[in-house]
Subunit: 289 residues, 2 copies
């Protein structure tokens, strides 16, 4: 695995690969890697000749300075994991290399995402998706992969990035890789390591509530009632403070209305556990293609 | 496998076995056997030297003459299945042999079951459990097994029989064998063969609603709300007419009050599908012993 710290060096190496007809897969990360990231890298390594991973804790997508400061950083372990998973190139840039014109310059700020960014994470974390779109568009510009691999755990992020690709007419496929979970079902997340033992135990319940909602939706139970009971159920658990539980049309991210035909039905949640904010989701229904 | 049509012949054979120290397991049935019954017989055959099965469509436990008349009868297939499952003796009696003093004479009619027989099947099928207790006490008297094997599908029946064994201080263990299900989860039942193709498809949804309730209970959601949503969900399916969905303490069969400590928590339902009345249940929680 080769490590690059500048966009220009990485671009040069990739230009040679592209000229030799090697297909490129890309896995953008913020480091503090876990088995969820490993699944993304392994899938790219299995499908593509070249797999590029980036580790960059993007300041522009953090709406809370404390969250940015507390975000875990484990560069040695990350490098080792990427190597084991078959990563070809690691891009490990500075803020200046990613944003040569400054963080304030956001060339995709004009894009209009409507319902994709107004609800759920969009309303809970103002400016978050503007930062995500800013960094992903810049990274895609540097790497120019055939396929971008993202984790399904960040369901709304995947939807927003897909929409960006559509709006910018970028020539890249976005693949969402299923969420990897701990034995008790907690979705893998870099933030999990910030949980105390008791918080960790409580966090393991989050996915159980989502599983009940998903099973209820499959059985035809009303979405709003299921959201309400999941919120109530989580609020009754001492260490869980849910921000939202929403059942949405997976394609539009608009609240699902019982009975309407959808390609994919998703229940998503954000929950504060102590100082840590976790998100998770479950796909309840997926129409046969 | 030996077939007996009278209690006296069967008793004589069993007395010899008992004298030789062979332990006896007993599986009472109403015939129209399926894989659920097969599981009972196989478990007894694995655990006991002698397995007795009875096939007797007991008139005193039917509260509707039409249901009794429509109850399926498949004696040849039943005999074959019992033989394959390792049954030793089959008791195939007439009504007169089971009730020599007449069906009206119920020697256990004085037993008081309280909450065990007042709710669910008890209120939906007046006289049903009096008939069950009558026939099981008579059959136990004839067979005198060490272990009585019953299907968990008839959860309330198992509880009532256990209670009868306790009240009469009978020397028999009652073992409840887990429900055997079709690939779509429908609990095996002799009544299933009376369903039309469309009814059969609808009936396959029943267990999904119970599964949502069970998952909800495990996540700590309120029992009454889950009952209500399961009822509503089933009522919205064209061919399903649920009579009840009840979350009960498995030991007392009294409605479960959220948060109270129980050894076992069960959700049970009875649903009319066309002319056929089906029951099913799921154990939601079981305390570690």
């Amino acid at each position: 695995m080769k490590i690059f710290s500048t966009a220009s060096d990485l671009s040069l190496a990739l230009a040679a690969d592209r000229a030799s007809g090697r297909s490129i897969g890309f896995v953008p990360t913020m480091g503090a890697l876990h088995q969820g990231h490993a699944a993304l890298v392994r899938q790219s390594a299995a499908d593509r000749a070249i797999t590029v991973a980036s580790i960059f804790v993007n300041p522009t997508q953090f709406n809370e300075g404390a969250d940015l400061a507390a975000y875990p950083r484990t560069p040695e372990a990350d490098t080792e994991l990427l190597r084991e998973c078959g990563c070809t190139y690691l891009y490990l840039p500075t803020v200046e290399d990613v944003y040569p014109g400054g963080m304030e310059v956001n060339p995709v700020a004009h894009l209009e995402f409507g319902s994709f960014t107004t609800r759920m994470e969009g309303s809970s974390r103002p400016g978050h998706f503007a930062g995500v779109v800013q960094v992903v568009s810049r990274l895609l510009d540097i790497v120019r992969p055939e396929v971008l691999y993202l984790g399904q755990k960040d369901y709304q992020q995947v939807a927003v990035v897909r929409r960006m690709v559509e709006l910018l007419r970028l020539d890249v496929d976005v693949v969402a890789v299923p969420t990897v979970r701990e034995p008790d079902g907690l979705a893998m997340s870099s933030r999990n390591r910030r949980l105390s033992t008791e918080e960790r135990r409580a966090a393991g319940k989050i996915n159980h509530h989502l599983a009940v909602v998903a099973a209820g939706l499959r059985a035809g139970w009303p979405a709003r009632e299921l959201e309400r009971l999941a919120l109530k159920g989580m609020r009754e658990q001492p260490l869980l403070a849910p921000e939202y539980v929403e059942v949405v049309d997976g394609d539009t991210l608009q609240p699902y209305q019982d009975g309407e035909p959808v390609r994919e039905l998703v229940v998503a949640t954000a929950v504060r556990v102590g100082d840590v904010r976790l998100i998770d989701n479950r796909i309840a229904l997926r129409a046969n293609p």
